[in-house]
């Protein structure tokens, strides 16, 4: 038994720009569903009429509390105050928002405000029998995993490698309740100071042959620039199996895939 609060945001599809449930927040909710049943409070700060919020209800939530505030407001104080009142054992949220400032600061600020520990990039949470501590698994780069122990209450951000979120269903999404709590939030001065414009892709910086690499000559840079992803590498025609194996092995070592 543990009370869980889930902070959810509204995402934005990268191709279409349409509002949707934010994928890692949905995974956070999925992780919450997998914990021993206690109270589950889902919180959102923003526009309560956004239809994308219903996607979370469609996952089986009965109620979503929205701290209603206009765009460009700083939600951290309001969220922290609300969470202080709920005093959940675990606060879950996605580690990447999409569609807003996307700085990933919010869970940290909340944890700081509430004086809680924060565990990033979580993929699994297992509570001990008394429900006082949790064994948490984190996702690291290249599929690696790290386990650690943390005392409740704590904040966890959920990694995209966590178990996939269940689909959102239309019926429950329609029936779920959105509870609107109007709050007074100050304008976000930090964001207001930023200029925003549509993103334009920049050419990717080549890592090979850049200054300071030390060994990059013109030929190497030329090769790096033209080869990029086109393949056209070395071809061995009809080698003996042992030659072939040796060539593969050496190449794997060269690429750092095998210990030398």
């Amino acid at each position: 038994m543990v009370d869980v609060a889930i902070l959810v945001s509204v995402g934005r599809h990268p191709a279409s720009g349409q509002a949707r449930r934010a994928p890692s927040d949905a995974r956070a909710l999925e992780l919450a569903f997998g914990l021993p049943p206690g109270r589950r409070d889902a919180l959102h700060a923003g526009d309560p009429t956004n239809p994308a919020l219903r996607d979370y209800l469609g996952m089986g939530l009965e109620r979503l509390t929205v701290l209603a505030m206009a765009e460009g407001r700083d939600p951290t104080d309001a969220l922290a105050a609300r969470l202080r009142g709920l005093s959940p054992g675990i606060i879950l949220t996605g580690n990447q928002a999409e569609g807003g400032e996307d700085s990933g600061m919010l869970p940290y600020v909340v944890a700081q405000a509430l004086g809680l520990a924060i565990v990033p990039d979580v993929v699994a949470i297992a509570l001990d029998a008394e429900g006082r501590t949790a064994e948490v698994v984190q996702a690291l780069a290249r599929g690696q995993r790290r386990a650690l122990r943390v005392e409740l209450p704590f904040v966890a951000t959920v990694h995209p490698a966590a178990p996939a979120a269940r689909p959102s269903a239309f019926g429950p999404a329609r029936r779920g309740r959105i509870e609107v709590v109007p709050v007074d939030a100050p304008p976000d001065a930090f964001l207001t100071a930023c200029a925003a414009r549509p993103w334009r892709d920049r050419p990717k910086r080549l890592s090979v042959g850049a200054a300071g690499g030390g060994t990059g000559g013109a030929l190497e840079r030329l090769r790096a620039a033209t080869e990029a992803k086109a393949g056209q590498g070395r071809v061995l025609v009809e080698p003996s199996p042992d030659e072939a194996a040796r060539a593969i092995w050496d190449y794997l070592q060269e690429q750092g895939m095998q210990p030398r």
Partner: protein, 635 residues
């Protein structure tokens, strides 16, 4: 004495049968209400039986003959037996007539016996069904002797006569009670089903074909669950339809999923629904083929229990293995609508439970967020055709032919056939345009996966979009879009002339806009897409087109309206239920057997599924590609 016994036995059995039928009717009333014109249905019943049902049964002439003999003889005999119950009418001539009817029935019964005991088609169920020939022949032979004896004035000793009446009475009871829950269900249930059929337009007295799915009411929020989660969530006339199944196994023989060893047997699926009508019903008594790889007798069901689930009557794999190809509907002599049932069950799974299989659920989520199942930007739908400079029809614009590109525009392989189609339209001087980035997915996949909400959203927006443009007709190379636009958008206010590109190209060739300069001259097998053939009855235009470009056409095993699915419909590649074989591999075997080096296809999904079969195999070519090659202008 013997005659009186005969009449008593006959009337008793018939009355008991009638009572049982009424008991049966109570079960259907548990279903949801449905708007049914009973009087029109009753008036149309004889025609539907004699024309539509006979057309299906007549596909196997042997079956048609024994049905005519045994059913005709039985009905005539019953009528005569009722008449002969009145002592003043017991005239030797009537006895003679009865004897004639019974003789016909006996012949039919013997044919049934021959089929069940000697031919033994794999699709038949056993159990009570195996007693059918005995009951038929027993009843007919015993009463035949009695009738012959009576017409001759009664020469048989009374005990023998009574024994014969008893034997015949057993046969009659077996037959009449078989109406209740056995081999003769189609006699009453089938007739009632034809009266209250949910798709009256599919019969010869209607449009002759009705394959578009019915919209689900999403506006009224408290009208009960969306789709069918329990058997009573079906409309009552659907329940009646399921109950009309006599387990003849024709659906099973036609079903591509069953043939590939996927865990779906349409006949068993309908029986699962029928068994769920009774509380505590289980399938231990079911004697037909199972859902391949699934056990029998493991689950119990009831009218208010969940139908689908790992422990429920219908395993989710069974539900999601269906390709919605309609082969079962096409073959069903009782006009049962299997695909409607599958979609209703899927609607509940998707809309209420979110229990769509993983990959399909991901596609639906992308579809909701981007209006195309691949999750791509709509701006990029025309990327493949940058060099073609396709005219885009803006709001208020006008053109003759609106080319609906569909999701194939995002696929490398299908871009090739779309390119061929565009070049052909240019060559023929057609005034055409595309919708470009404004075209949304037609919603076919969403609807077949049960996501009616997403489908209706897409449908409404597409209809509004198209109604804001002026064009004479829509042409599309995707039979799924063709079917959706033509048959399913009218419910949302979209009524246009929609053509499949094969029909349109044929028109262009026939009108001389396209000239065949290099006849193909090769053997070509044509694979009918389900959504063009069975869903829309279009099997001639593609064939005529192939003939026109000089292809030496060969028919594959299972073609035309009885074509076998490529395995790509109904979201089946997304739900990806494992079987013993792959459906496209089996279909490719049909193509190989035809010996043709080219397999012509007319659907982007078929192209992908069939081209995914490991070589060696016939080359897969879209018809437009073949037409393009055959109409190269000569200089």
């Amino acid at each position: 004495m013997v005659a009186a016994a005969l009449s008593t036995v006959t009337l008793t059995v018939l009355l008991v049968g009638l009572a049982l039928a009424l008991v049966q009717a109570r079960r259907w009333r548990a279903g949801r209400a449905a708007a049914v014109d009973l009087w029109a249905g009753l008036a149309a019943l004889p025609g539907r039986y004699l024309v539509d049902v006979h057309a299906v049964v007549g596909r196997t002439p042997f079956n048609a003959r024994f049905h005519a003999l045994s059913a005709g003889g039985f009905l005539a005999a019953l009528a005569l037996l009722v008449v002969l119950a009145l002592p003043p009418l017991r005239h030797p001539a009537l006895w003679g007539l009865l004897a004639l009817a019974l003789a016909a029935m006996l012949a039919g019964g013997l044919m049934v016996g021959y089929r069940r005991r000697v031919l033994r088609p794999a699709g038949l169920s056993g159990g009570r069904f195996n007693r059918l020939p005995l009951a038929l022949t027993g009843f007919a032979a015993a009463f035949l002797l009695v009738a012959a004896d009576q017409s001759a004035g009664g020469v048989l000793p009374v005990p023998v006569g009574l024994a014969l009446v008893a034997l015949g009475g057993w046969g009659l009871a077996e037959l009449v009670f078989g109406v209740w829950n056995g081999p003769l269900k189609h006699a009453v249930h089938g007739a009632l089903h034809l009266v209250a059929h949910p798709r009256p337009a599919r019969f010869h007295d209607g449009a002759g074909r009705d394959s578009g799915l019915r919209p689900l009411d999403l506006e009224t929020a408290d009208s009960g669950p969306l789709g069918a989660g329990r058997v009573v969530d079906f409309a009552w006339n659907r329940l009646l339809g399921f109950d009309a199944c006599v387990q003849c196994g024709r659906c099973e023989t036609a079903c591509p999923a069953f043939a590939a060893g996927l865990p779906l047997n349409p006949k068993k699926l309908i029986q699962d629904l029928v068994l769920s009508l009774d509380e505590g019903g289980d399938d231990r008594a079911y004697t037909g083929s199972r859902h391949p790889g699934r056990p029998v007798g493991a689950a119990t069901s009831g009218p208010s229990r969940p139908l689908v689930g790992p422990q429920a009557m219908i395993h989710p794999d069974t539900l999601w293995a269906c390709t919605t190809c309609r082969a079962c509907v096409q073959e069903c002599p009782m006009m049962i609508e299997h695909v409607d049932a599958v979609v209703d069950l899927r609607r509940f799974q998707t809309l209420e439970l979110g229990a769509t299989p993983a990959k399909a659920a991901g596609v639906l989520e992308e579809l909701r967020a981007t209006d195309n199942p691949g999750g791509r930007s709509l701006d990029r739908r025309l990327d493949w055709a940058v060099d073609l400079r396709l005219p885009v029809l803006a709001a208020g614009g006008t053109c003759d032919v609106l080319l609906w590109l569909g999701d194939g525009a995002y696929d490398l392989r299908n871009q090739r056939s779309l390119r061929a189609l565009v070049l052909l339209l240019r060559r023929a001087g057609v005034d055409f345009a595309v919708l470009g980035a404004e075209e949304l997915d037609c919603g076919d996949v969403a609807r077949r996966l049960g996501d009616e909400a997403t489908f209706q959203d897409l449908a409404r927006r597409n209809v509004a979009l198209l109604n804001g443009r002026r064009f004479a007709r829509i042409v599309t190379a995707d039979p799924h879009a063709f079917h959706t636009l033509r048959n399913e958008y009218p419910a949302f206010g979209g009524r246009w002339t929609v053509l499949h590109h094969t029909a349109f190209l044929l028109e262009l060739v026939r009108s001389g806009a396209l000239t065949v300069t290099a006849p193909l001259g090769q053997a070509v097998a044509y694979h009918d897409p389900c959504y063009l053939g069975r869903y829309n009855g279009e099997t001639d235009a593609p064939r005529a087109l192939l003939d026109a470009i000089g292809a030496r056409r060969r028919e594959m095993e299972r073609s035309g309206l009885r074509s076998r699915c490529c395995g790509g419909g109904g979201g089946a590649p997304l739900t990806d239920v494992a079987g013993e074989r792959r459906i496209p591999d089996m279909r490719m075997d049909d193509a190989r057997a035809s010996g043709a080096p080219i397999l012509a296809v007319a659907c982007p999904t078929c192209t992908l599924m069939l081209e995914g079969v490991v070589e060696p195999r016939p080359a897969v070519a879209e018809i437009a590609e073949l037409v393009l090659a055959a109409t190269e202008p000569t200089r």
